[in-house]
Chain length 343, copies 2
């Protein structure tokens, strides 16, 4: 496990090569964070120095941000297995090794999620008692947001995996978002105990006995309400649900746009209501929600959306800083130990 | 299997007791269908005669619609197991037995979905080669709609079950919607063959060898596009995805409403754009999409939404008529036989 530097300064490494407009978006994000951040943070950027140095110089950051050289670059279309085995000098590999060796406290990357997860898992390993890391997403909900995991790292989960995801999600919301006692729900096809697969039923029984604030089964509709803070499911279900939401949101916004330009009167209305409708659109993809933690790893890794702009990328960096400052790794280990004692 | 009357007249039985405003909505729907229908249809209504007869008289339908007496009424909150075992004289039980005995060709009910499925399965049984019936939903998509199954009847499906759902969905779209060669997709977490659970991978391999128009794996986002006509998944995944969509749509419409009444200018815009926004809302819950066929049963059963109005209920009746006229049962048996020969 990486340990924080003696000076209590969080050391955050960013991947210079992931995402749509790297390294410029990444470096602009660093510039934004450095100009605002009151807290003490040291930054490094990982990747090809010949690309990164001129970009840092442009922003006057060459003295402030360390470059950690990495030769290979992973493409968004590289299969994770290829990225894992054939590009061992990629920015993600080099970054994960630096994390493992305690040189840095957290890594942020907008690269290929599958590759980021596979390489992080190989190099950092999982925390004691955790079999599989999970990928998460913060979903907009009435009165706030809901933390949703796993969204695709793990298909075919056991009850124990689901219980571990519940611990990981609960610890994350406590540490990074300051939610005192996160309400944890298990995604199911009905709220009654008899509903669902055996895997889900056994997980629910285990969670009821745990010291988590488990509220029981929740349904797909509940994700968007103020009823639950953490929704746990296997990665197959989570991925399908998340992508279904994305598809529906896109269709609805397209339909609204079409309808609002269908007549002169509707167009006039759309002009007047324009900023209100933009706020709805932004509420569905809030930049503040960028930064999906990869949880369960023995190290802090945060995934930024590939199309994030500098502001959104800075939000992902902020997630990493909060995880480090709130000692998420230590909290998760402690919570897993408590679960083991109760079992 | 129920067989059509000698006169080639479709005989449709409706459940007089399911839904929010039964029997009035049901009877108003019958009245609408009878006033418009050019095709030859005979109608029956199943339930308590003392309730149904006065309601039929009010609409002048007492001579046109047969009453099939049933003593028990299933409540929306009755667990399916209770409804199944303790209310054997319910309108659904009586209707399903009449279907089984060939007295009627199809049944439409707005009752409790779980009870409707459990009773129909017990009394009608499944078609040869089909292990489990499925519940379906028509989902709005760009340029039309996507037929989605299973949405909750079956958790823990095998590859064979998924293959059977694919046949059932494909036959339904051919028969009831006239889609010549429905594009069938298997819901997965990525389009590549290596993605997903073993159950899904084996189902994909079987479907690739079949004579269905199988387009491969599809993702949640694809449901809302014009890429695929039938999307197949197990009932756990389908139920979670469908309820997630419902939750998101509700949240988005609430947010739009809030934003559009947040200022005088936005309110003015909302007034002007009002009918356009209503069309978007209606497009998400089109009355024409009411009527979800329960597929795989040895008999035609259509579920109407519990809150359907008369127009929407009439659409569900129309689904049943189209299934009968297009001989869905015979087509499905034939398609299953072809699958068996190819295996």
């Amino acid at each position: 496990m990486s340990s924080m530097g003696e000076t209590n300064m969080s050391r955050i490494l960013v991947d210079g090569h992931g995402g749509d407009d790297a390294p410029h978006v990444v470096i602009e994000a660093l510039s934004q964070v450095l100009s605002k951040k009151k807290r003490s943070v040291k930054f490094g950027i990982c990747g090809q120095p010949e690309v990164l140095l001129p970009a840092l110089r442009e922003k006057g950051l060459e003295e402030v941000v360390d470059i950690i050289p990495a030769v290979d670059v992973i493409d968004m279309c590289d299969p994770p297995a290829i990225a894992l085995r054939r590009k061992k000098q990629s920015s993600i590999h080099v970054g994960a090794r630096a994390l493992r060796d305690g040189e840095w406290d957290a890594m942020v990357s907008a690269g290929n999620t599958g590759a980021l997860m596979a390489i992080s898992k190989l190099i950092l390993k999982t925390l004691p008692g955790i079999d599989r890391p999970a990928v998460s997403s913060m979903i907009p909900a009435a009165g706030g947001s809901t933390f949703f995991l796993d969204i695709g790292a793990n298909v075919d989960c056991s009850s124990e995996h689901l219980v571990q995801f519940a611990v990981m999600g609960s610890c994350y919301l406590q540490a990074a978002e300051g939610v005192e006692s996160p309400r944890v729900g298990l995604l199911n096809i009905g709220s009654e105990d008899i509903k669902g697969t055996d895997v889900v039923k056994v997980a629910a029984a285990r969670l009821r006995e745990s010291n988590l604030n488990f509220i029981g089964n929740v349904e797909g509709t509940d994700i968007f309400t103020d009823k639950v803070d953490v929704v746990v499911c296997d990665g197959f279900v989570g991925n399908v649900a998340l992508k279904s939401m994305e598809g529906l949101a896109k269709l609805m916004l397209t339909q609204i746009k079409q309808e609002l330009t269908s007549s002169v009167v509707a167009k006039a209305g759309a002009l007047l209501a324009g900023s209100a409708l933009r706020r709805v659109k932004n509420a569905l993809h809030p930049s503040e929600h960028n930064g999906a933690p990869l949880l369960g790893l023995n190290g802090i890794v945060v995934k930024s959306h590939g199309s994030a702009d500098a502001y959104a990328y800075a939000c992902a960096i902020d997630v990493a800083i909060r995880e480090v400052e709130a000692k998420l790794i230590e909290r998760t280990i402690e919570s897993m130990n408590q679960m083991a004692e109760m079992a």
